[in-house]
Each structure stands twice: as C-alpha cells, then as structure tokens.
Amino acid sequence: MPFFLRRIATLSSSIFAIVTFNFFLFHIIPGDPIRLIARTQRLNTEAIAKLRTSFGLDGSLLSQYFRYLSKLLHGDLGYSFFYKENVSGIVGRALGNTFLLLTASTLIVVTCGIAIGVFAGSRQGKKSDTATVVSSLILWSMPTFWVGMLLVFTFGVWVGGLPISGISTANALYSNWFQYAMDIGQHLILPTVTLAIVDIAFFIIITRTALIEVMSEDYMLTARGKGLSRRTIVWRHGFRNAMLPVLTASALYISALVGGAIQVEVVFSWPGMGLLMYNAVLARDYSVLEASFLLTTVAVLVANFAADMLYRVLDPRVAVSK
C-alpha cells in the first residue's frame, strides 16, 4: 500500500478510536447533567424524562453510542445542555476566534523563535548565545496565566491604554468595518503577546539545539572546507536540515492551540475554544466538551499527518528509507 494511503488508514482508525473513547469517557464518569438542571428547578419526573430524551441520554449506553456515531457522520456534534442549541454552531463561532488568536501568535512565535534560535545556534558558546538561552529558559518557565495576569495588571490597571478583556469593545458603535477590525486588533494584542512571550522560548531552544547538532555534521565541515561563507553555511546547509524537529514542534504547537490557549483565553475573556471548554466544564455542558475534545484530538492527528507529509518534502531521506 502506498505510504500516503497507509497514513490515511492509520489516521482514520486513530480518529475512530478517539471518537469511541471520547464518547465513553463522558458517559461513564459519575454525574448526571439532567439531575443538575433539575436541581435548580422544580421539574416533575415527566419533564425530566422529556429532557433526557431530547438530550439523547435515554436508552442503553450502546444505543446512545450508535446514535452518537450516526449523528457524527452527519456532521451533528450534538445538542448543548446549556445553550440549548446545536453544538456545531457554538463550536464554529469559538473556533473562528481561536483561529484568529492562533494565527497571530503562531506567526510571531514561529518566525521570531526560529530567527532568534538560528542567531543563537550559529554563535554557540558566545555571550549572545548564553544570554539568549538563559532568557529563553526564564521565559519558558513562566506560567502563561501569570504572564497574562501581569499584563492585565500593567495595561488594565497601571498604565492603561490596551483592552484587557473580550474580543471587541462592549457596546461600541462602529462607523465602518475598518474601525471594527481595528477594535478586534487592539483586543488581540495582549493575548497574542502573552502567548508569544512564553512560547517563543520553546522555538528558540529547539531551533538552536537542532542547528548546533546539524552544524557538527561532517558535511558542514565539507562546506566550510569548500570555503563557503558562514552565512551560506548556516542558512543554506544548516538551517534547512535543522528544520525537521522544528517542523514537528510547529505542528504540535498549532494543534495544541486548536484546543484553545485555555489559560490565555480565560484570563483575557477571549471567546475562543479555550474559554468555551472552561465554561463548559463549569456548566457541565458535556456535549460541548465532547465536541471540543474531539476537535482538539483530531487537530493533533491531522497536524501530525501534515508534518509527516511535509517531512518528505523537506528531507527526501524520509521517503527513501520508508
């Protein structure tokens, strides 16, 4: 079977396993969402039974599972216990917002992280390299929510000037779409900077290590022996080969962000997947959680699949050895 098809088959069976695990995970944990709804209000047993049916919680676990699979194949992610509407719409809106935050932060984190990593790796052992490594380790060890809270305090209470909550100004009237876009852009700054501050270190360190490893290869010696300039050696020969682990890291980073930069979204009330999951946990909105988990795990799998494919483009040895 060709490599591509083999990978597709593995991807599909992994997704099926996850769907199954995901379903049973949420249905065997103790607790009854209907009971929680009923607690707050005086519902009679007939009303409770009706709720159970409308949320698909009636019948045996197995029949609920098959119903879930059939709905999933029709693109139906379920019905929210809390919002009383289809999960697809709720998750769709949140995904859009997370995508915005993700794109902004990934662009900064990956490009700046790689650039600084190459800078440090090509100057191994020098003061500039040591300074970069030490500051990266400090940044990396800072908890994201703590950095977020510091920025909220700095820009919300102390200095002011930048919005610290939400995706746009509450109750604002915009005279054109540009103003609206600018307002969202403003709200995007602090969450993006928070993510960048912490995550950039990850890419700096990975790129640096990969580059140092590549630079010690025999062919780099050959390149030097051929009299190539340092710049050509680093960027043409070293950088491309050092990109393989960085690519894996990028794929994992993007897929992790699909699950929502939970802490950042919660700190800045950014209405994306992270905040949605956080609120779903608080509201015991199982169907929203189920869908969010599913999307996150599928995102990880698909990102890894994409990284595998890209590997073959970047490094023909991968294709040959397979």
Partner: protein, 561 residues
C-alpha cells in the same frame, strides 16, 4: 541512501522551501503586519463610539437560551423578562401589578384575566388572547419547562371573548401563575411540535416587552433595544446590555471606571473594596436565598446513609450544637444573617421566627442533655458518644469544594458538633458528584450535606414545597416525608384568605424547623453595586436592584449627568 552532498551542491536559488532570503522576507513581513497592526490599533483607540443611554450590566455568567420553555438560568430569565411580557408583573414593592392583563380575579378554582388592548408583537403582528391561550395550554398540557410547576393543577385555559382569559385548575390557587409565565407569540410557536419546541434555539426572540432583542455574542454580550411601541411608559434607556466578565477584579475595575453601570453579584471580598470607592454605590440587600445543612432521612432499602439520622434527638442535638452567628461572622464575613426557618424574612408575615425556648441554635448544654436523655451518654476514649450497642455517633458530611462558604460552614459545624460528642467527617466534592450523590433515589450514600436554595418566586409555595413527600425524586434533597406537613402544604396553596394562609404557613415552618432535617444556617445577603455617574434612581429592593423578580428598576432609572 541519498547523497547529502548532491543536494548541497545545488545553486541557492533552487531551494524552494527555505532559504535565508525567503525566511528573512517572511519574518520581515510578519513583523510588519503585526507591527503596523499594533500601531494602527493603538491609533484607533477612540475611533468607535459607545452607545448612549444604554444600561450596561456586567456579570459573570452567560445566559442559556431565549427559549422560555427550556431556559433554566437566572440570567436567561432576567433577559427574557425584558423581551417577553407576562400577564402580571412584580413592582418595586414586590407586589403584583398589571402587565398584559389589566386585572386578575381569583374565584374558586378559576382565575380570570382582563387583557390589555393595543398590544403588538415586536414584529408588528397584533397580540391577542390566542397567544395567551397557546402559551398556557402548551405548558399546562405538556408540563414543559420551569414554569410547569405553577400549572401543576392545570385543567384548562379558555378565552370567552377577545378581552378575557380564564384559567381553570383542580383547586383554588393561592399563587397567581400570571406573575411568572412569559407569553410567547402563537404565530411563531404554534406550528411546532412539543419536541420541536423543546429543541427550538429561538435565536431571534419576538416578544411584546419593553425591549426588543438586539444582538447576542455567546459568552460575551447580549443587547436589547427599546421597543418604542410598547404599551407602558417608555423607559429612558435606549437599550440594555449584559456583558460577561471572566474575573471579579476586572468587573470591579470596569464598574469603577464607568464601563459598567451596575453589577448584580459582588463577592464579599470585592464588596468591601467597592464600598470605599466614591465612584460606586455598593449595597447589601436582603435576599430570598439560604444555605442549609441537610440530613439524609431516606427510608428506601438501598440507602447506605447512617440510620441514626432518623433519630430526631440526634438531629435536634446537631441543631443545638450549630452556632449560626459564628458561621455568619467567619464563613460569610458578616454578609449574611443567622437563619432558622425555611422561609427567609423577606416573605414578610409568612416568615416564622423562632423565639425564646423555641430557638434551636448555639446551645451545647441543651444538645448534651438531649443526647443523654436519648441514651447516647456512653463515650469512647476520643470523647465521641456511642449508642447502646456501641456504635459511634459518627457521620459523613459532603459539600461542594468550590463553594468556599459551604466548606467553611461545614468545618465550623464539625468543630461545634465534636464539642457535644458527635463526630463529623468532611469530604468536599464537585457540584456534579454532589447532585448525583444527594439525588440518588435508590441508593443515597451520604449522611449530611451543606448546600443552598433560592426562591424563584415571591411566594412561600416554592420553598415550602421542597420537603414535600411528592418532591422525593424532585426537589426533596433529604427524602423528608411527613403527611402532616404535606396536608398543610395542600391546604395553604389553596387558601385564598391571606390571614388563614399565613397561619398555616407559619405552622408548617415551625413543624419543619423542629424536625431538624434542614438546619437552615444563613440567609444570604445580595451584594450589588452601581456606578454613580451612569444612571440615577436605582431603588433598593429585597432580593436585588436587578436580577430579581421585578424588572422595574430597568424601566424607571433616569440618565445621570
């Protein structure tokens, strides 16, 4: 193996994926996009205007749905009360006032409403008695949603003419359901089956209320705009917005700097800080909520609760051991009232206040005397009392880990109980586990919990109804069953003479108080705060300026300077 050298010998321009130039170009472009974006956005700080004459509410939780048949959150009910009218409404004095019905007359098993003229739906369709008949019939026949409880004795609804609606019940109704049931438009809803109604998301609700639906951004904000064709006196506010803040400190900050006009639930820790701020008025109001200690008296075979809980003497001793004042001061930092009866003092003359010898609170001597008299005088080496057959008076207590006041209450209760020789072992659980454990009808495996109740209506029926035998499997969280109490409940809910009803309600509370299956620990205080420069004329109401049974504060406030 592929030769590495062969690729490195290629000219630089043939590497399509990465090279220094393309990478630097990409990095430069990214930095430029982000940098220019930041610059532009920094310049655009004040380009958008804020809607004027808007009442801006800031709160912590999202509403669920605009569907009045499926909504369960208080936030949902609050926002819907602006969009949908009811037949009657609560005024600022929490007394009934006309709404879609100009008059309501209870006689025997019927309530007759006289309906207002000249009302239209937000979409321009004329409102009629058919809409009322449809709404009541849908809830009454199908027992749909949270308001079905008020139509438990429903028989029929009819409209003898276009100005009159008659509701018929199996017995007289002391509580008028017209006060709580929002009327929905038949022209939108009547084409749907019961199942479709249960699943209808109602994303663009149409009502007859003073405000029409504006926008909703889930998890962020809901806005409504003034309905200039509303039948009542037009509110000054051009609209209302309810914005969600994820953090109490952010919300307090927004209130101080005027981004938010009012907030309905201030935590005690933030409240004291707001009280000192001159830009803000922070108020502490009585509420219709209490927190209580409940004891498992289930008689089902599968119950693994400690059977000693069935002994009234032990329950009463625990009641006498409990120090409610200490709980108020320590667990609630003074922002609560020591409690007793299942009704809060806000219920006026219905409220039963135990006095003198009738008080079951903070009396360890009496607790010891009761336990001695009941035969639990033997003690182990740890000071814990024993039954005659040698079993320790030892009980498990559960409460929700995230409700810190309940955890603190349980700890204080533990300490006071130990002083009278009763051992309590505390376990904190999450709210889901709590609900599943407590409401496990067949196998309740718990002894004591700490939890709370909030009355959904300004009528004693709701809270008094919690410990009914018929509510086992419903709200009755302690499985209490007392035929005398049940009979009294039935009598009071059909008693139209106020004085006679008060007497029955008082008797019920006394009976339930003395049975000590509930040790109602505290009556909560509602802590709210508003910005002084936004709107003027907020009226303090028991239960809250907003987030209460009455919507009148929204309708009557005036724009500030």
């Amino acid at each position: 193996m592929v030769s590495i050298e062969s690729s490195s010998n290629q000219p630089e321009a043939q590497h399509p994926v990465f090279n220094r130039r393309t990478f630097l170009q990409a990095a430069l472009a990214t930095t430029a996009v982000v940098g220019v974006g930041s610059f532009l956005t920094a310049c655009g700080v004040k380009t958008q205007k804020v809607v004027s004459k808007l009442i801006r509410v800031g709160w912590k939780a999202d509403m669920d749905t605009f569907n009045p048949f499926t909504t369960v959150t208080t936030e949902g009910v609050e926002i819907q009360s602006m969009i949908y009218d009811k037949l009657l409404d609560y005024g600022l004095d929490l007394q009934s006032e006309p709404s879609l019905a100009t008059k309501s007359v209870s006689a025997g098993n019927t309530i007759t409403y006289t309906i207002r003229d000249g009302v239209t739906w937000h979409d321009g369709t004329p409102f009629s008695v058919k809409d009322i008949v449809y709404t009541y019939e849908t809830i009454g026949k199908n027992q749909l949603g949270i308001n079905a409880q008020f139509l438990a004795d429903y028989v029929s609804v009819s409209a003898p003419d276009d100005k009159t609606v008659v509701l018929t019940f199996t017995r007289p109704q002391a509580f008028d359901p017209g006060l709580v049931i929002p009327i929905v438009p038949a022209h939108i809803w009547s084409t749907k089956s019961t199942d479709e109604i249960s699943k209808f998301d109602n994303l663009a609700p149409i009502g007859t209320g003073p405000f029409a639906f504006g926008t909703r951004k889930q998890g962020q904000i809901v806005t409504v705009t003034r309905n200039d064709k509303w039948w009542g006196t037009a509110p000054e506010a051009s609209g209302i917005s309810w914005a969600i803040y994820s953090n109490d400190d952010l919300l307090a900050q927004a209130l101080k700097n005027g981004e938010v006009d009012i907030t309905p639930n201030v935590p005690p820790t933030v409240f004291d800080g707001l009280k000192k701020d001159s830009a803000v008025t922070a108020v502490e109001l009585d509420s219709f909520s209490f927190h209580h200690i409940g004891m498992n008296v289930s008689k089902v075979k599968g119950s693994t609760g400690n059977p000693l809980m069935h002994d009234r003497a032990i329950r009463q001793a625990l009641g006498y051991a409990l120090d409610r004042n200490q709980i108020v001061q320590i667990a609630y930092a003074g922002h609560a009232l020591p409690a007793g009866s299942i009704l809060t003092p806000n219920f006026g003359d219905y409220y039963y206040e135990p006095k003198g010898d009738a008080v079951i609170d903070n009396n360890p001597a009496k607790a010891n005397a009761i336990l001695d008299a009941a035969g639990y005088s033997a003690k182990g080496s740890d000071g814990i009392r024993k039954t005659k057959d040698g079993k320790s008076l030892s009980f498990r207590v559960i409460c929700t880990a995230t409700t810190s006041v309940d955890v603190r209450t349980a700890q204080l209760f533990q300490a006071t109980a130990e002083k009278v020789g009763i051992k309590l072992t505390l376990t904190t659980v999450d709210s889901d586990t709590m609900a599943s454990a407590v409401y496990n009808l067949e196998n309740p495996d718990w002894d004591i919990f700490v939890w709370g109740w909030d009355s959904g209506v300004n009528d004693p029926s709701y809270l008094l109804g919690v410990p009914l035998t018929s509510q086992i499997g419903g709200n009755n969280d302690v499985f209490y069953s007392n035929p005398v109490y049940d009979d009294l409940f039935t009598k009071q809910s059909a008693e139209l003479d106020h004085t006679k009803r008060v007497a029955i309600v008082q008797e019920m509370q006394k009976l339930f108080y003395e049975d000590c299956v509930y040790l109602v620990a505290v009556y909560l205080k509602k802590l709210q705060a508003y910005n002084n420069s936004g709107w003027t004329g907020w009226t303090n109401v028991a239960g809250g300026i907003i987030f209460n049974f009455t919507r009148d504060n929204y309708l009557k406030v005036k724009a500030g300077k």
